[in-house]
């Protein structure tokens, strides 16, 4: 069995990877994947916290699992909207490089 701490370390690592991907990568599709990675890293933390509460309080444990299910549903909707925005960007700009999206500034 994994301990709560090791799960949280993995979650923190995944979240940081996601943050790096959003801030550091140029391809919008990679940015989208990184956004999903951030949400799923939090899911891991939620489930791990829920598991840790299972020994003392079953209701608290279930809360974490249900929270994670809600996040999965939201992430799916977000991916749908995100991909259609990427499609729109490709049609208008013929590029999915975030650094090309800089007509507006100031």
């Amino acid at each position: 069995m994994f301990s709560l701490t090791s799960c949280l370390y993995i979650s923190a690592f995944l979240f940081s990877t996601g943050v790096y991907g959003v801030l550091g990568r140029r391809n919008i599709l990679v940015v989208l994947m990184s956004l999903e990675l951030m949400l799923n890293a939090v899911n891991l933390a939620l489930v791990a916290f829920g598991r840790a509460y299972a020994a003392q309080d079953l209701a608290a444990a279930h809360t974490g699992q249900i929270f994670a299910l809600m996040v999965i549903a939201v992430a799916a909707a977000e991916a749908a909207v995100g991909l259609s925005i990427v499609l729109l960007v490709w049609r208008r700009w013929q590029s999915i490089d975030v650094r090309d999206l800089c007509r507006m500034h100031g």
Binding site: V22, L88, V89
Partner: protein
């Protein structure tokens, strides 16, 4: 455990359900063939506008049904009646949520009214616009009532998804795609932090109700980090500096009326949820005092930088976007005071009253921008306003009223809003300096608010510009917003009383 729904549960979600039903009704009505043909994006589609406005009126009326959100809030005995927990703690039926819901519903109605002619002039009048406004509006109303972390997260994500699409609604604009992409990436990025903060709060307490934020826990460090991350997430949503970089781009790329909707409604529901969070955190005493100082610093930076960045904008939408950031800064002052909870628990009322003022003046200003630009990006520059007063005296007057109100001139409701917020800060003691910074920042802001007014009244026009005119919806919107802006200056006291009673329904 069986869930028994009682009348309070239905009364609580009635406004949101009506808004969502309106959104679906608009989408269905758009499928029918009308005199202008099937789905003609250049027609005004006034039947959709009518359905939307009627839905908004119904939702507004639903606030006042017996045991509804605002029912009894006008009564003299102080605290609004019928504040209770519904849906097992996911939502709360109280006047605070009702007050915020009222602003959101009015914003939805006014946005619908002003959009028909504008979108038709662009050849982009699709039913989805109204559908997205009302579906998002339903989520916003739910966010204003949400009292546990799951319902807050789901509501904030639902409403965000609708405004991302609205930001890119003009599909033929390169700027629309750019603004929507930036808004989406930064919005989803901030949701990640918000969610991480919520996971930490859950991990520290094992609960997801907002009351958990105030509970003593074995791990106050985890709790405070979680609270901090939640506040960062909300900072993005309300566009506080340094989390503001998406605001000007998203507003510039969005249709002008959608930008007004994004500015007002997203701010109202985000601030309502933010105030619930800080009140719950502040009452518990687990939250570190440093978080209050950080919020105060956020308010100062947002007020100062928002106003300074607006000074040299030549595009009116960008100018209004930076002005919106500055207004987020003013609105953060009552949030700071509510977190502190001193000296009296009514200080958050300033935010509610200010949001009413912000609704009227911002929708008014963006409606004029929509009329003048007529969908053409080049006409969003300040020069397009040269000599407008000669050709369209009423439009110029409405713009002047809105801008003077945004600047906080006496005679408009914007003055009363700023006065309420700054007065609360002065009496708060330790946060006196917020009032000073706010007053100095609003003095600076007068410069850029006066620039379009000078252009409209004292400059000669370069070329004749056609504007969306003779459209009943646009004119009615301008009449309502200018009248409201001036009238509320004279009878703002009753609205302020109501906002005080509303805030008492959450601070006790």
């Amino acid at each position: 455990m069986p869930i028994n729904l009682v009348s309070a549960d239905y009364a609580a979600i009635l406004p949101a359900v009506i808004l969502i039903a309106t959104g679906l009704a608009v989408l269905i009505a758009d499928l029918f063939v009308t005199d202008d043909g099937y789905d003609n994006p250049s027609s005004e589609k006034s039947h959709l506008v009518w359905i939307g406005v009627c839905g908004a009126a119904l939702a507004f009326a639903a606030l006042f049904v017996p045991s509804g959100l605002l029912f009894g809030a006008w009564s003299e005995n102080g605290v609004a009646s019928g504040s209770e927990v519904v849906f097992l703690g996911a939502l709360r039926l109280d006047a605070f949520g009702g007050f915020a819901a009222a602003i959101i519903i009015v914003a939805a109605g006014l946005t619908t009214l002003s959009s028909g002619g504008y979108l038709a002039a662009q050849g982009q009048n699709r039913g989805e616009f109204y559908g997205l406004v009302y579906l998002g509006g339903g989520a916003m109303v739910l966010l204003a009532q949400a009292t546990n972390l799951i319902s807050i997260f789901v509501a904030i994500e639902t409403l965000s998804l609708t405004v991302y699409v609205l930001a890119g609604f003009f599909r033929k604009w390169k700027l629309g795609a750019e603004g929507a992409a930036k808004y989406f990436i930064l919005g989803a990025f901030s949701s990640g932090f918000l969610l991480l903060g919520m996971a930490f709060v859950y991990g520290a307490t094992g609960e997801i109700s907002l009351a958990a934020l105030g509970k003593s826990t074995a791990d106050p460090y985890l709790m405070n980090v979680g609270l901090l991350l939640i506040l960062v997430g909300f900072g993005f949503k309300v566009g506080a500096v340094p989390f503001h970089s998406w605001v000007p781009d998203a507003y510039q790329g969005a249709p002008a009326t959608a930008a007004g909707w994004m500015a007002v409604a997203v701010k109202v529901c985000s601030f309502a949820a933010l105030i619930r969070v800080v009140v719950a955190a502040g009452q518990g005493g687990v939250a570190d005092a440093a978080i209050g100082k950080m919020l105060a610093a956020l308010a100062v930076v947002t007020m100062v930088l928002g106003n300074l960045a607006a000074l040299n904008q030549t595009n009116i939408k960008r100018m209004l976007a930076y002005s919106g950031i500055a207004h987020s800064g003013y609105l953060l002052i009552p949030v700071v005071l509510a977190f502190q909870g001193t000296p009296d628990p009514k200080v958050g009322a300033g935010a509610l009253f200010y949001l009413v003022a912000y609704l009227l003046m911002t929708i008014g200003a963006f409606t004029v921008v929509a009329m003048v630009s007529n969908g053409d990006t080049d006409r969003e520059e300040l020069e397009s306003y040269n000599g407008l007063a000669k050709r369209q005296p009423f439009v110029a007057f409405a713009m002047t009223v809105s801008l003077l109100s945004l600047a906080g001139m006496p005679g408009t409701v914007g003055f009363l809003g700023k006065l309420t917020i700054f007065k609360d800060a002065v009496y708060s003691g330790p946060y006196l300096y917020l009032a000073f910074v706010g007053i100095l920042a609003s003095l600076v802001s007068v410069y850029y608010y006066l620039r379009p007014i000078v252009a409209m009244y004292f400059r000669e026009e370069g070329e004749t510009i056609e504007i969306v005119e003779n459209n009943w919806g646009v004119k009615l919107t301008l009449v309502l917003t200018s009248f409201g802006t001036i009238a509320l200056f004279f009878c703002g006291k009753s609205v302020h009383e109501l906002s005080v009673r509303s805030i008492q329904s959450i601070t006790g």
